[in-house]
Amino acid sequence: MKGASRYLPSIPVLLAYAALFVFGLLNPGRWQLVAQLAFYCALGQAFNLFMGMTGYVDFGYVAFLGIGTYGMAISISELADKGLGLGVIVIGLILSVVFAVLLSLAVGAVALRLRGAYFAIATIGVNEGFRYLIEGARIWNGSEGIIFSRQLREMVGREAAMSLSTFWADVMVFGVAVIATVLTIVYMRGKIGYALAALRMDEDAAKVMGINVTRFKIIAFITSAALAGLLGATAWALKLTYVFPADVFGIHYTVEAIIIVLLGGAGTLLGPIVGGLIYGVSKYYLAVYLPGFQLLVFAPVIIVVIVLFPEGTVGMIKRKLIGTALEKYIL
């Protein structure tokens, strides 16, 4: 596959995001549902960029969302009265990326030397250790966290703050999802994609083939972390306007990311959005129709799905489409 045609698989993904977005615009009363789905899809895309492409399971991934949330929270709570207007939001986005990248460099230096379960446990350790450092050393208000609803309102006005939290933050989440999708396909179709595919299948052989595995792993790790930082800054900080360390370092978000990626198909481009939609929609309707019992229903379903379709839904679809005209659109 040559030239532009190799980017064809991004079409169905971007179309799906566009459809979701338009559905949300046409149904203003379902916008928050759309926003939640967009968050799950974006989380899946961002997580997949590292986990799916390298096969390394980062269990502490939520730490990058958490520190991104802090980036935005600090920016708003410190700069709200400096008369910078929406510039503060831009600074917040930049800060969240910078924080996430710095943390990913620190984590990567330690954890990326490890493989398999050792890597997974090390990253859990980073996430938990970092949270307790914030609480124990009273960094950024410690466990009391930062509530910055008021500052946001004083900064941009009541109406603007409200539409920021209930609409524009979600639009930004869509933006993160699209950036993640584009980066994923550029990586997958570029040299780095082949390098990561090689190291996922046989890391030692990859080294012998001249692949500097550490370098490519770190690039993917940093990219994925930066996207998570943006996601924290938008879906958590701007949308909810507060941050408590116990919330933003909750390990169940990593588990959700894993479920989404696995339901869709790890290492595929289309997988995270399919997984995110399946996960989000089924969770939502279970919460509506079976309040209090949805997890009891959901957990066995997950087990059945991973036993029956270990490659995820997209992996299965891809296999069915081999040899058909649609093949080149699915990745």
Partner: protein
């Protein structure tokens, strides 16, 4: 100037000395075979040369650069290619992609983009006669096809030194002859030095190598031109059994 120089290299695993004070050299474009029974330390020596393991003692020079502490990928960039005793294809990538990975990241990697690498891959697929399998997943090939694909992948790296680990194990005599011809051909076409590891197929050694290095229990036993080496009594002893009395030595 030699292409590769190995000086007094030793590698231990726990109490076991896998490679014991080996010194060897190979010139540009030379064709050499390393023979020895299973466990003689041949593969470990390979792993030391291309950087999978690091030597405990001694030095390794490649084109007069001290590469003793270079990681594997850097040595690949400098021009050391490698195939494995048990094939290690990237199983869920296609044959073309496998070979293209060699082209993308090997010695010529920094100047090769993805499209060029795919074209190079097509060239090498033709060379090894696997054109009909171009878009097949590498995991689905027969063992011999995998071996051929690995050679193509290593060649796509544009190496100056190709290390071939038991390329002919498990082949029948007819295939071995074909393989020997193939290796000779690529050597003259690509102008590279080749070191082949051979456990016991003397037919291949005799047809292929200009020089033979015999290893025994981690140490270098003989390093002579092929004809001399193969008639050396020590070599015959190693292959045909150790006479009584020396068993404990």
């Amino acid at each position: 100037m030699s292409l590769l120089r190995v000086e007094n290299v030793t590698k231990r695993f726990g109490g076991l000395v896998a490679v014991d004070n080996v010194t060897m050299e190979i010139a540009h474009g030379e064709m050499m075979a390393i023979v020895g029974p299973n466990g003689a330390g041949k593969t470990t020596l390979f792993n030391l040369i291309n950087g999978v393991f690091f030597a405990d003692e001694g030095k390794i020079w490649f084109e007069d650069v001290d590469v003793t502490h270079y990681p594997a990928y850097k040595r690949a960039h400098m021009g050391i290619g490698r195939t494995f005793q048990i094939s290690r294809p990237f199983a869920s990538a296609t044959v073309q992609e496998n070979i293209a990975i060699g082209a993308m990241f090997g010695a010529a990697g920094s100047e090769t983009n993805v499209d060029q690498a795919m074209e190079m891959a097509d060239h090498y697929i033709g060379l090894i006669g696997l054109s009909s399998h171009r878009d097949k997943l590498a995991g689905g090939l027969t063992p011999i096809e995998k071996k051929m694909m690995e050679i193509a992948r290593a060649l796509a790296m544009k190496p100056r030194l190709l290390l071939m680990d038991e390329a002919m194990a498990g082949m029948n005599p007819k295939d071995i002859d074909k393989m020997v011809d193939f290796i000779k051909r690529i050597r003259s076409e690509e102008g590279i030095a080749i070191v082949a590891l051979v456990e016991h197929i003397m037919r291949a050694v005799a047809g292929l190598a200009e020089r033979v290095l015999v290893m025994h229990q981690g140490a270098k036993l003989v390093d002579e031109p092929t004809k001399i080496a193969l008639s050396d009594p020590r070599v015959i002893e190693v292959y045909l059994g150790v006479p009584p009395g020396e068993a404990d030595a």
